[in-house]
């Protein structure tokens, strides 16, 4: 009987759909139990996927919380334009907390020198943005596969009134029963993408046809070799002696502050070809392109303790 036999129902979700279901569950749980959640949105692929999931979780209603962008002032222009388009398309309210405001007010002191980065200052601005808006939960797109300190992170991550993470005193997290209890002034960081890997993210982007900033796909741009990475030659990068900018076909694996986010040589112009590239890659996305993780063995752990996401 050709093709006539009924498919046996296995009631199995594909890994991607299982991850989606888990993330949707977390998003709904927070919306149902917190008063003022917000979604941290940088325009990077993880936060774009997170916003996409939020739209799916509450369908047919709109996303019931705003997005918060911590603006370092050193953004790639394409990413800012993408951010505004995305916010309009999903019909969400955008809240911007700018690092520049903290520098101007003297709450943050800018690093100096040619390798200066505003990355560390983000924690100050993030905490101010959360406090000023009275957010009691902040979704982040962080994944446990990114970094060894993040592998220890909970889905619901308690932050004290100073926004600090205490890795030795985390709440046990059992089944899918999340404990978001907190006092006024404290808040919870929520990571619905905890169990996703970089490859899962890309496979989902391909499967769902999710639009990303074009930086994520191969394009020609002027770059400079710096610390074993390729750094985009933007107005935020001061050339050092011996730096010789050149044009290459590159793409970004992460998108953050333009002063410390490197790119990789690539010819992948579609999500499918990026998947092939990522699957064959022998370096992590952070190892390849994030200068900020190279500060020390415990760079991420230290920043998370300060309030980083």
């Amino acid at each position: 009987m050709k093709g006539g036999s009924a498919m046996a129902t296995t009631y199995e979700l594909s890994p991607l759909r299982a991850l989606e279901a888990e993330s949707v569950h977390v998003l709904r749980e927070v919306a149902a139990t917190f008063e003022r959640p917000a979604l941290l949105f940088s325009g990077g692929k993880d936060s774009v996927v997170l916003l996409h999931l939020a739209a799916k979780a509450f369908w047919p209603a709109p996303v019931p919380f705003p997005v918060l962008h911590v603006d370092t002032g050193h953004n790639f222009d394409e990413v800012l334009a993408f951010r505004d388009r995305a916010v309009a398309r999903f019909g969400v309210r955008l809240v911007v907390a700018a690092v520049q405001d903290d520098i101007d007010a003297g709450r943050a002191v800018e690093e100096t020198g040619p390798r200066a980065s505003r990355n560390r200052l983000q924690s100050i601005t993030l905490l101010r943005g959360i406090a000023e808006n009275g957010f009691d939960a902040a979704f982040g797109g962080a994944r446990r596969d990114e970094e060894k300190a993040r592998a220890k992170e909970r889905v619901f991550s308690f932050r004290d009134e100073y926004g600090q993470w205490d890795p030795r005193n985390q709440r046990p997290e059992l089944w899918n029963l999340y404990n978001g209890a907190h006092r006024k002034g404290e808040h919870i960081r929520v990571f619905p993408l905890s169990n996703w890997t970089e490859l899962d993210i890309w496979r989902y982007i391909a499967a769902e046809h999710i639009e990303l900033p074009l930086l994520y796909y191969a394009h020609r741009r002027r770059v400079v070799h710096r610390d074993g990475m390729l750094l985009a030659h933007t107005r935020f990068v001061t050339l050092l002696e011996g730096d010789e900018p050149f044009e290459a076909s590159v793409r970004f694996r992460t998108v953050g502050d333009a002063t410390c986010t490197g790119c990789v040589e690539s010819t992948a112009t579609t999500a499918e070809s990026v998947i092939t590239e990522v699957a064959a890659s022998r370096t992590t996305e952070r190892g390849a392109t994030r200068a900020d993780d190279r500060i020390s063995e415990a760079g991420m752990e230290d920043r998370k303790k300060e309030g980083y996401f």
Binding site: R17, H25, A32, K148, L174, N179, T284
Partner: protein, 601 residues
């Protein structure tokens, strides 16, 4: 997708095994490995220390131990594997419980030199308690016992004996060397005697999908979506399969309705929703449904109640669980106040001994408690459904999660499932004929003849023979008065089910104590079923002269004790429906006498 939790004592090489698993399956990236090599070199180690791949926190690296649960990801062409890497060191039970709560499989490491230690037994018990039905025992450091097949077999047998006391559906054993990579990802040439697969291969192949409950439809309402002029209910399916068109009921109010539509995330229509899908449901009726309610099928409901019996694991060092204390209990999408009424017992996780005198539970201790909640919970037993059977307790003073709970089957409020078929709907009426008497009195021969004649006459009948049942249903029961009582109770229950189903249950069982038989009779009468007690009254000297199994001879020789009629009493029925004596004739004649009794109106 496979979720697994690791366990093992300190220095059994757990972090090394995880590191090896990731490294040899090429899940480690060049920059991660370079960092490990650099740190290992700085510490003066010759080989890259793979444990550094997983010990991510500063304090862990400094102390060379694992402090907290970490999650790792391994993607093979066949499976995505999520590893909850739980430390064996401090606060082991808490972390193991956390990791095991979402795991399909637990991987327990033992050191081949040390063999099964307390920690191994404790971890196996916790895995079993948390409903992890697949266990893999990795016997590590085989290189240090000269790859000995005998040593491996010894450990395997010891563990197997212990695991028989637990609820473990699937048990596998792999001899490995995490340090050198033997049998971790690749089969080892050092252990040609081992016929199984490598650990990774086992993890890729083990079948876990059937562990979910696909029978009892349960949808706890998580979030109410109001849009386009109507209300829909969003939530994660916690059990069973739901379809558009299904008749449902919304608990606790009990509103009946029907599922109109089901959508997946983003509005994709769903024909069948099953766990762990996150769905949105629209019902036929506009009802007042809120978060914390539960949608299920009208004839398959969870328990509804405020008195909860549960096993709990205490997770904090800052306080203890004592009767009278109040907490916030979080269960599915409900959050209610709960008070500890009673600590029934504390369990010693090493010996599985129950301490009924215990007055509190402290960090890492497990016990059985009775809780009373302020509002009813809609629950199943944890054994039946991990989602609707689990809860956490939150301390309102600190906001910390202080306990993990697993609901046990409610003893006082077992729901008797009503049947759609009444007794009068069946083609035949059933009953129980209970033949009691000494060993070798001739009960079984009469019973066999009676069964044969009934079946010949077209009357469904089945013989329940005491000896035969001790091979199956009652294997494991001995001959103490307590075990004998249990033996009679079980056979009585089975006979009653047969009788209810329309069969004549023909029981032949010594059943020496009157009280045990009277209990069975009382249960039958309460259920409206006939119970005919037939006393096969053969004098003991006649039985002893027959002695077909040589039991009397052994009892007289002192080889067996507690033998009915020799050194244990037989209590004859006070009012039997029929007494059969040797002078009544051969077994056929006796069977006819019983038949005559059955046909009496």
């Amino acid at each position: 997708m496979l979720r697994l939790a690791t366990a093992g004592s300190v220095d059994d090489g757990k972090s090394t095994l995880i590191g090896r698993l990731l490294h040899d399956s090429k899940a480690i990236f060049a920059d991660q490995l370079a960092a490990v090599e650099r740190t290992s070199r700085e510490r003066g180690e010759d080989e890259p220390n793979l444990a550094l791949l997983t010990d991510g926190l500063r304090a862990e690296r400094e102390q060379g131990i694992t402090i907290d649960v970490a999650y790792r990801y391994l993607v093979t062409p066949k499976r995505k594997i999520i590893i909850a890497d739980t430390p064996g060191h401090v606060q082991y039970t808490r972390n193991m419980v956390t990791g095991a709560s979402t795991a399909d499989l637990a991987l327990i490491l033992v050191d081949a030199r040390k063999g099964i230690v307390e920690q191994s037994r404790r971890h196996a018990f916790i895995a079993s308690l948390l409903g992890v039905s697949h266990l893999v025992l990795c016997v590590n450091k085989m290189d240090l016992v000269d790859w000995s097949a005998e040593r491996f077999a010894e450990i395997r047998e010891e563990f197997r004996r212990f695991a028989m006391k637990l609820t473990v559906a699937d048990l596998a054993f792999v001899p490995i060397s995490a340090l050198h990579g033997d049998n971790v990802v690749q089969r080892s040439a050092n252990m040609p005697w081992y016929e199984g697969t490598s650990l990774l291969h086992h993890l890729e192949e083990v079948h876990v999908a059937s562990d979910r409950n696909l029978i009892d439809a349960r949808l706890p309402v998580q979030y109410v979506v109001r849009a386009q002029g109507f209300r829909t209910y969003a939530g994660t399916v916690a059990g069973g399969v739901l379809k558009p068109g299904d008749d449902v009921v919304v608990l606790p109010a009990g509103f009946p309705s029907r599922i109109r539509e089901i959508w997946g995330p983003g509005g994709e229509p769903v024909d069948e929703a099953f766990p762990p899908q996150a769905v949105t449901v629209r019902l036929d009726d506009e009802l007042d449904v809120a978060r914390g309610d539960l949608i299920c099928r009208p004839h398959n409901r969870p328990h509804v109640g405020q008195d909860i019996d549960a096993m709990v694991c205490w997770l904090t060092e800052r306080s203890t669980l004592t009767p009278g204390a109040r907490y916030t209990l979080r269960h599915t999408t409900r959050s209610v106040r709960a008070q500890v009424h009673d600590l029934t017992y504390r369990i010693d996780v090493n010996t599985l001994h129950r301490d009924e005198a215990a007055e509190s539970l402290s960090l890492n201790e497990i016990g059985r408690v009775r809780l009373r909640t302020q509002a009813p919970l809609l629950f199943d037993s944890y054994r039946r459904n991990r989602s609707t059977g689990s809860f956490i307790l939150v301390d309102d003073a600190t906001n910390n999660t202080v306990a993990a709970g697993m609901i046990t089957e409610p003893s006082a409020s077992v729901v008797w499932h009503p049947t759609a078929v009444g007794r009068s709907d069946r083609a035949t009426r059933g009953m129980t004929v209970w033949l009691t008497g000494l060993s070798a009195s001739g009960k079984s021969t009469v019973a066999a003849e009676l069964e044969r004649r009934l079946v010949l006459a077209g009357r469904p009948a089945y013989r329940l023979d005491g000896d035969n049942l001790r091979h199956g249903l009652n294997a494991g029961l001995g001959f103490s008065p307590k075990d004998r009582a249990e033996n009679v109770r079980r056979v009585g229950e089975v006979a009653q089910l047969f009788a209810d189903a329309g069969l004549v249950a023909v029981v032949s069982l010594i059943s020496p104590y009157r009280a045990d038989r009277d209990l069975v009779r009382a249960r039958h009468e309460a259920a409206g079923l006939a119970f005919l007690e037939v006393f096969v009254d053969t004098p003991v000297d006649v039985c002893e002269a027959r002695d077909p199994k040589g039991m009397y001879a052994r009892a007289r020789a002192g080889e067996i004790t507690g033998f009915t009629g020799v050194d244990d009493p037989y209590e004859a029925p006070a009012e039997p429906a029929l007494v059969l004596r040797p002078q009544d004739g051969d077994p056929a004649a006796m069977a006819i006498k019983v038949l005559a009794l059955l046909d009496r109106p």
